[in-house]
Symmetry: C2
Subunit: 201 residues, 2 copies
């Protein structure tokens, strides 16, 4: 038997389809919305509708954008010689927060994963190549995740771009700052050791 | 600096206001919706709008309902002599799943909490009293949570209803079925011991 009236049950079902939301959370959110003001609840509905209506992909970097070309790509202060390739839009915020990068971005919308059938055709690789043609770009930093898929993607891009004279780099692997040596896995420690740097006092 | 275009940022903000959703989850859900089909994303928006438009409180039991009187209250098979009082709408589903109750319900929408200023006036107590007038109800089961607020609420209702000849009961406290004695707190074990039952083979 269904214990909730259909509009409530539908609300719970819709929320439980979202990533990371189980049936209990979905129920909690649904009741929260039912009990909150019309303004609050309808604000969420409107935000979804506005985002789906207005947000498209930036024609240059493939990031989500409300304009044809996104703000970052239009910013004249960003270095046009370096492109940082990331897997997802959210990674741009992570790289930006580091404060160590002032170039352009390119969002692949995923990483290569042959087992799941995700190759270069499923990613925004073609868009990257088009962008590099007749450009001033000299370096592509592949900031994909340091896992199998991310490494495969960076290796593929390096093979593709090295012959046309573009340097392909990758952020260094090593010990996380503020971490404890005891909890570092041997692969990370191995890479950190082989990339060790001299201390110049 | 804001890294997302305003409609995306607004979508993330709206989701992070929901209970149990932190900024990371909100971001994940927002990007999921941006990447999913229009049908899926707008289905969620429509579900919120429909629920806010159609769902009100049942005039009898104060549960959420799409009709003036909810399905449970309209069901002629439910015993009209017993009312189970619960804190929230979701508790009805929990009691129903136990399969041990076939009477009516009443939703208080909270429990008494003097510190937070929640007294009988903030709960649907008046609606319960109106309902009990000239009714066939002989027993009110107060199935509020077995915590301070829930106990205070049940005590209050017992003092209110005993003088008018309505029996007020409470589900038994005791050991959870399938649990381990090692993990039972002393208060629960104390109550379970004083309410011990004879085994009749």
């Amino acid at each position: 038997m269904n214990f909730y009236t259909p509009p409530v049950q539908n609300l719970i079902d819709q929320f439980s389809r979202l990533p990371g939301i189980g049936p209990k959370s979905a129920q909690r959110i649904a009741f929260h919305l039912l009990q909150s003001s019309n303004e609050n609840a309808l604000g969420l509905a409107a935000a979804i509708e506005t985002a789906k209506e207005q947000v498209r992909f930036c024609e240059v970097c493939c990031n989500f954008s409300a304009t044809e070309v996104c703000e970052l790509c239009q910013d004249p202060k960003r270095d046009p010689a370096v492109i940082c390739v990331v897997e997802e839009s959210r990674d741009i915020a992570i790289v930006e927060r580091s404060g160590e990068f002032s170039g352009q971005y390119h969002v692949l919308h995923g990483a290569m994963n042959p087992i799941e059938g995700i190759g270069p055709e499923q990613l925004r690789v073609k868009e990257l190549l088009n962008r590099l043609k007749d450009s001033q770009v000299t370096e592509v930093i592949v900031a994909t995740s340091p896992n199998l898929e991310g490494e495969a993607t960076s290796m593929y891009l390096a093979r593709l771009l090295n012959p046309v004279g573009i340097m392909v780099t990758r952020p260094a692997s090593g010990l996380p700052v503020g971490g404890d040596l005891e909890y570092v896995d041997e692969l990370t420690l191995g890479r950190a050791l082989s990339a060790r740097q001299q201390i110049t006092p």
